[in-house]
Assembly symmetry: C2
Homo-oligomer: 254 residues x 2
DNA sequence: ATAATAGTGTCTTTTAGACAATATGTA
DNA sequence: TACATATTGTCTAAAAGACACTATTAT
């Protein structure tokens, strides 16, 4: 590593060892979810097939090495990766976790910081990803798997399943699914998103009561012409950066 | 970096760049909580005062560089750090998150993976930390701060506050506090832990009903001679590795 | 007996779940 | 007017909060 930071020559042996030991590879990956055709979809990219690249041609989560010159911090790095693939720059973005170890990358001990993003589909339409050939949306099934025909690169199948599980579990008691919708949205649309993510139906009346009663969640945005016989009320999020937490989980099994 | 993994000389320019770019420093830190004297306590260590070490003499979370030779993965690394300070090796250990950026360590772009551990006090008594001089327990206040007199090293004050917040928020709807108690414990003891962590009192009847009704949480372990006038029933955890999730949050304000 | 702590019972309140009823627009 | 979708109302069930009551044992 040629351009390693300069360290004074007079440092102690202990400090020197701390700096000089072999450093793991550090990457950031992003699990990008959206909603399309009544299904949860995840964005995957195809690995390059250059010689020397691991998992050539296989599908993977978008991501890559932290660039210590470009990225101020981990979140900035995740936003950069997201922007490179989707041209979106203020999504809902949450840290999912880290996976690191000796075996997950053939190039050596590596650690990845995984974020997950929730995007409304319409936010992607204007510029649908720079070089679209190697980027695709895949529907995610109930187990968090994806119909690529092959397994994903690295441990990404495992990470994707963890992301879906995290999303599912938080959907039980937060307003997360609202970040998958364009504003303004209607309550029937919101309920449908919950049902898609949870893979079960919810009671209409209880759902409305809960959503409208939650403080700091929704504000009215006028009746919407959705084509429905009766025009439904539209709503916007009061806070676009943070989900609302409900005091109970959903329990309907109807 | 002398002992960087060997890469075939015939690799492509792109692959070569990926491997050769400057790598961030990678550390693992552990927020170790226990319960003592009716207060939540966190374990801190004093930074060495060798020349060249950052934040010499200041208190910090226990942790340090990933050792790619010793550690198979991140969790193994966290367990090693924990074992070095406490001689405990099967605690409740959960990933908290990562903090990474250019400015958090004067030695360069660094990223830390933070875990938090919950330990019963008695598990620490037999060997109370190898070299006890530079290791100490500090009571944590309601805001997640600690009475050291100085600020903590690195961004550890911030990380500690995040850990306390995470603990508090999960305590509202999980059985996490049980991992702070030695088994067998009694329901009054368990309730006291909840109250300490939440900084508010809970109703006895509702608490007992909820705890005993939660599936997979407690199993009876015989009456305990605690010195109380009436001997209380002791309980053990059915599952020592995973907390139980309650369908509602606590709401008592009595 | 009294005190202190453990544990239970009862009543009320809240909110979800089920489902029926009403409202409002389109064809 | 018929119909489809949005929205509201009613009843019931489940669980928590408040708090009073009973149980057990050390002193």
């Amino acid at each position: 590593m040629a351009d390693q930071p300069d360290v004074p020559a007079r440092r102690s042996a202990q400090a020197a060892r701390a700096i000089d030991i072999a450093r793991p590879l550090v990457t950031v990956d992003v699990v990008i979810f959206t909603l399309l055709a009544d299904a949860l979809q995840v964005l995957l990219v195809q690995r390059p097939s250059h010689e020397g690249e691991p998992f050539p041609g296989q599908w993977a989560l978008p991501g890559g090495f932290v660039d210590v010159a470009l990225d101020d911090d981990l979140r900035a790095c995740a936003l950069r990766k997201l922007r490179e693939k989707t041209a979106v720059d203020s999504p809902y973005l949450e840290q999912l976790g880290s996976w690191g170890g000796r075996l997950r990358d053939p190039r050596g001990w590596s650690v990845t910081q995984v974020y997950f993003a929730l995007l409304p589909w319409a936010s992607l339409q204007p510029r649908k990803g720079s070089n679209a050939a190697d980027v695709r949306w895949f529907a995610v099934d109930a187990e968090g798997a994806v119909p690529t025909g092959q397994t994903l690169a690295f441990d990404h199948a495992f990470i994707l399943a963890a992301a879906v599980e995290r999303l599912r579990s938080k959907v039980e008691y937060t307003s997360l699914p609202a970040f998958l919708l364009d504003e303004p949205f209607t309550l029937p649309q919101l309920q449908r998103v919950y049902e898609i993510v949870l893979c079960r139906s919810l009671d209409k009346s209880a759902f409305r009561t809960r959503a409208l009663a939650a403080p700091g969640f929704l504000e009215e945005a006028g009746l919407q012409a959705t084509g429905a016989p009766r025009a439904p009320m539209g709503y916007r999020l009061v806070n676009k950066n943070q989900p609302v937490t409900f005091p109970r989980t959903f329990q309907s099994r109807s």
